[in-house]
């Protein structure tokens, strides 16, 4: 170890990998992964969320899975829970849409209205 900067660089890289274990004040993305969700293609959606968040170095968002919320016809579904309790439900997703949600909603705080259940569901 030559310098504090070197230590800091290792720290920052390692921190990205372990930040998942710190779940305070985080935005959560829940992807529906029941049989209906998986059959409709939820896995690539979830992987896209994880991948895009990692690419953009966003550490205050976790991605996890959940079961069926009961509107199977609209799968794959993902819900975004803000730290303040607000919830946005996105439906009929694919990997591309997931990446847009990361960019617009999770980075720029602007929900992608066109993918939400209110817009698509009817």
């Amino acid at each position: 170890m030559k310098s504090l900067e070197e230590l800091k660089a290792i720290r920052e890289k390692a921190l990205k990998e372990v930040s998942i274990r710190d779940n305070e004040n985080k935005t959560r993305v829940l992807v529906g992964m029941a049989t209906c969700g998986i059959a409709a293609g939820a896995r690539p959606v979830m992987n896209a969320f994880v991948d895009e968040l990692a690419k953009r170095n966003i550490q205050n968002v976790t991605v996890s899975m959940t079961g069926c919320i009961g509107i199977c016809r609209l799968e794959p579904i993902a819900e975004v829970f803000e730290a303040n309790g607000e919830k946005t439900t996105y439906v009929k997703l694919d990997a591309e849409k997931a990446r847009r949600i990361v960019a617009e909603h999770l980075v720029n705080q602007k929900p992608v209205t066109e993918f939400t259940i209110g817009a698509v569901g009817n």
């Binding site: 390692a14 990998e17 372990v18």
Partner: protein, 596 residues
């Protein structure tokens, strides 16, 4: 590589012995079988403290805590939790099972009153991965010390923090360092006492297993502070997992240049070697420990000269306990003021206790100094099994004493424990209920010190043996008037005359049980009765005629044919033949046999 989920599995000794390695193996296999091994990472980690509930598994990001996990449960965890995202409720740690969401571990009562400073990384990081330690501010304190602080300012910070040795005696750590720093000498040593020997104590093992780098970092800081380039960790060979993780950690630290020459491009060089102890209790005493490192038989010597003046290989040496070291990096990073804001006036910071005996949550807890015993036993420990009554707690192992129920609200710190006749010790805390006989407990600890006495000085070698013989007589119903006074007299003389800490403290368990439970000693001696019903020689088994159905089962089970009677009429035990094995009592279906 970023994973969507991390599975932390405890790999402390407790959970390893209840098969956590098999669980990890099965898990990895299942992840591959389901094609999610690139999404989910399995991480082995140190002790969560909830040993009684082990093996413990925590799955992030949900923070779901599963307990008593068996290899057979792995398939369900993978298919339900990891694939379908449904938490496996039947395995959830009882207290975290709130509605649909598993609450985080920090909110359960077991953790709520704890404050994890020394154990900050245990159960959080992978102890075999230096990067994870660095991610949690590891080696930042060393970097700060080497690049921004002088050796004296490091010592000043430790002095100011009020940190006292966690190995038992509670000597201020900063003063120890100051003495060694002031000594002139071309060679000085930094030693770590990991020879944890108190029966029932396992906090040092857990720190080394869960966070070995914190000890390595702290020893390096100590080396800088006193001007030493060589450290030794003296650890018992009975801690194979801790030894293995230490070896891995030292290797990683060397690879990163955090041990070795010119650390952080300064003139400072430092390295650490491990020395294995064969498990003699006396080697936890500082002079015996150093004699053992030197390659001699582990025997203590007189002090002075103190180790800070003439220690290992007759060079100035500091020797601190594992838990003491684990506190050092945090103190430098967060500051002495932060550290001294925790705890009581004269005992700063936290203390780790290995809680065992008659308690629901057997395990490892870290509490701020000044927490009461009641909080440890009832709030954190979850109370006593089967609703039994709390009788006493034993602290300090074979060197300590007991805290009776009447003092359960005493705030725990170094000085309070001494004043009530016990001591902090390394932090073993054994809880006893109404079924424990205090004379028997005293005998147990004394037997331990008799076995472990190195034999160098007569007060310890002969004195403790004589005390043990008296206790044995008392528990066999052969106690005589004056035995208590004889014990007290012997105890005082051993305390004054013994060479080292082992002998000087060996009589403590006897003295403290006499102090608080004299009536029990008297019952044994005068009435030949054991009030708790433990001392076999003083017990008689008896059949309660009203309850006996005359089934003859007890007579059949009795190995010495001491029970006789007519079928369907009450049976009788011949106390002269009875060997008090208890077989009749365990087999009776009508609870018709009592021992008194």
């Amino acid at each position: 590589m970023i994973y969507r989920s991390h599975i932390l599995i405890c790999n402390g000794t407790g959970c390893v012995s209840s098969k956590s390695p098999a669980i990890m193996e099965k898990l990895q296999e299942q992840l591959v079988a389901n094609g999610i091994d690139k999404e989910v990472k399995v991480v082995k980690t140190g002790c969560f403290g909830l040993c009684e509930k082990g093996p413990i598994m925590v799955i992030y990001p949900e923070g779901a805590t599963y307990c008593h996990v068996k290899p057979e449960d792995v398939e369900e965890i993978v298919s339900e939790h990891l694939i379908k995202g449904r938490i496996v409720k039947r395995l959830l740690l009882g207290e975290t099972d709130q509605a649909d969401v598993a609450r985080s571990l920090d909110t359960v009562p077991f953790y709520a009153k704890q404050r994890r400073v020394a154990l900050r990384n245990c159960g959080v990081i992978n102890p075999e991965n230096i990067d994870e330690y660095i991610a949690h501010d590891g080696y930042a304190a060393l970097g700060k010390a080497l690049t921004e602080m002088t050796p004296q300012s490091v010592i000043d910070e430790i002095l100011k923090s009020g940190l006292r040795g966690r190995g038992g005696a509670g000597f201020p750590t900063g003063r120890k360092w100051q003495f060694a720093a002031k000594e002139a000498g071309d060679q000085k040593y930094v030693c770590c006492n990991a020879d944890e020997g108190d029966p029932g104590a396992f906090m040092d093992r857990s720190v080394l297993e869960g966070d070995p780098h914190s000890v390595i970092e702290a020893m390096t800081i100590a080396g800088y502070a006193i001007g030493s380039n060589q450290g030794f960790i003296y650890i018992r060979a009975e801690y194979p997992i801790a030894v293995q993780r230490l070896n891995i950690a030292i290797k990683q630290a060397r690879e990163y240049g955090l041990l070795g020459k010119n650390i952080f491009s300064t003139d400072f060089s430092f390295d650490i070697d491990i020395r294995l102890g064969a498990g003699a209790f006396v080697c936890g005493e500082e002079t015996a420990l150093m004699t053992s490192i030197e390659g001699h038989r582990g025997e203590p010597r007189t002090r002075p000269p103190f180790p800070a003046v003439k220690g290992l290989f007759e060079k100035p040496t500091i020797l601190n306990n594992v838990e003491t070291y684990a506190n050092i990096p945090v103190i430098l990073l967060k500051g002495a003021d932060w550290f001294s804001s925790i705890g009581t006036e004269k005992s700063k910071g936290t203390k780790v206790f290995a809680v065992g005996g008659k308690i629901n949550n057997t395990g490892l807890v870290e509490i701020p100094m000044g927490t009461t015993l009641r909080e440890i036993v009832y709030d954190i420990g979850g109370g006593i099994p089967d609703g039994k009554k709390f009788k006493a707690a034993q602290t300090g192992g074979p060197s300590g004493g007991c805290i009776p129920a009447s003092l359960i609200d005493t705030p725990i710190d170094y000085d309070n424990l001494i004043s009530i006749g016990s001591m902090m010790g390394s932090g073993g805390l054994i809880v006893m209920d109404e079924d424990n006989c205090m004379v028997d407990i005293a005998k147990f600890f004394l037997e331990f010190t008799v076995d472990e006495s190195c034999g160098k000085c007569p007060p310890c070698r002969i004195g403790t043996k004589r005390m043990y013989e008296i206790l044995e007589r008392i528990t066999q119903g052969k106690g005589e008037e004056g035995d208590i006074e004889k014990l007290e007299n012997l105890a005082e003389n051993i305390k004054q005359g013994a060479l080292c800490g082992l002998g000087q403290t060996a009589p403590n368990p006897v003295l403290s049980t006499i102090r608080y439970f004299r009536d029990e000693y008297e019952a044994h001696i005068k009435e030949k009765r054991c009030p708790a019903g433990v001392c076999k020689a003083l017990l008689n088994y008896r059949i309660i005629a009203d309850k006996c159905k005359g089934c003859s089962l007890c007579a059949k089970k009795c190995p010495v044919n001491a029970i006789s009677g007519e079928i369907k009429k009450p049976f009788v035990i011949d106390t002269k033949k009875c060997i008090k094995c208890g077989a009749c009592m365990t087999n009776c279906k009508f609870a018709a046999i009592e021992k008194k």
